[in-house]
Subunit: 126 residues, 2 copies
DNA sequence: ATAACTGTATTAATCTAATTAATACAGTAG
DNA sequence: CTACTGTATTAATTAGATTAATACAGTTAT
């Protein structure tokens, strides 16, 4: 479920946070699904439980999960989170477009990619 | 020319590398333009010359600049680099579009952002 | 040649953040 | 009571970035 990349120079607690976010945003992990326990996941990944603890604390702070002492950690209701994810992807789109513009990439190249991804439904077919 | 962000958790030598890459890729710094000297830029940014040295070494390793002992560091011929940068941004565009699609963002939202960035020249105005 | 610039290299010290380690405490469930 | 859960805390370790202090080598102008 989680794979660590030690070549990645980002801290591993951050990799764990990101990975769970992906799983929840994509719907693979549904609301109220229980996450692996702090200690068991630490065992699985061969890392210290404190590092998992930190990742889970971060996920909770961001609203992705909720934790109950003695029971476990669970996927939160993240309808609102999906909204913020949508905002984030729009920001990313803007950044990409700015970069493309700076490189002299034509507007049409970007539009074509979007159409390819979304399918040619609203536009002309090949 | 260079502004450091100490809140950014990436190392500052990396920020410097990225900033120069932007300046060169966008054409602000043309081929054979001399970069500020290691020591003078260190003075300007109030950081250690070794950090600039590291940034320049990285830029040279990546092929963005060339350095001549006793003379200085200069913008390299980076036509090939621009091409690969363009490819990279197109991949990024595809990734962004895929993510947006997965989140249920409408195609038009992406197109609007592109138009905003590129200016409304080719489309309708507000 | 010499002074004042350039880049480059090296070694040690310092600093910060991430991670580990070792516990301890508190709540839940069988 | 036992064995799980999450949570908190303090100390030690590790790794990387940065600084510091030099030294050496090449260029340029005086």
């Amino acid at each position: 479920m989680i794979i660590l990349d030690y070549r990645d120079r980002r801290p591993i607690y951050e990799q764990i946070v990101e990975r769970f976010q992906e799983l929840m945003m994509s719907g693979v992990m549904e609301q109220d699904t229980q996450l692996p326990s702090v200690r068991s996941l630490a065992m699985d990944l061969s890392i210290n439980p404190n590092t998992i603890q930190r990742a889970y604390a971060e996920l909770e702070r961001k609203g992705y999960i909720y934790s109950v002492k003695g029971k476990g950690s669970f996927v939160a209701d993240n309808g609102a989170l999906k909204d913020s994810k949508r905002e984030a992807v729009l920001k990313k789109q803007e950044k990409t477009a700015l970069e493309a513009l700076g490189l002299g990439v034509e507007r049409e190249r970007l539009r074509d990619i979007i159409d390819k991804v979304y399918g040619r439904g609203g536009k002309n077919d090949d």
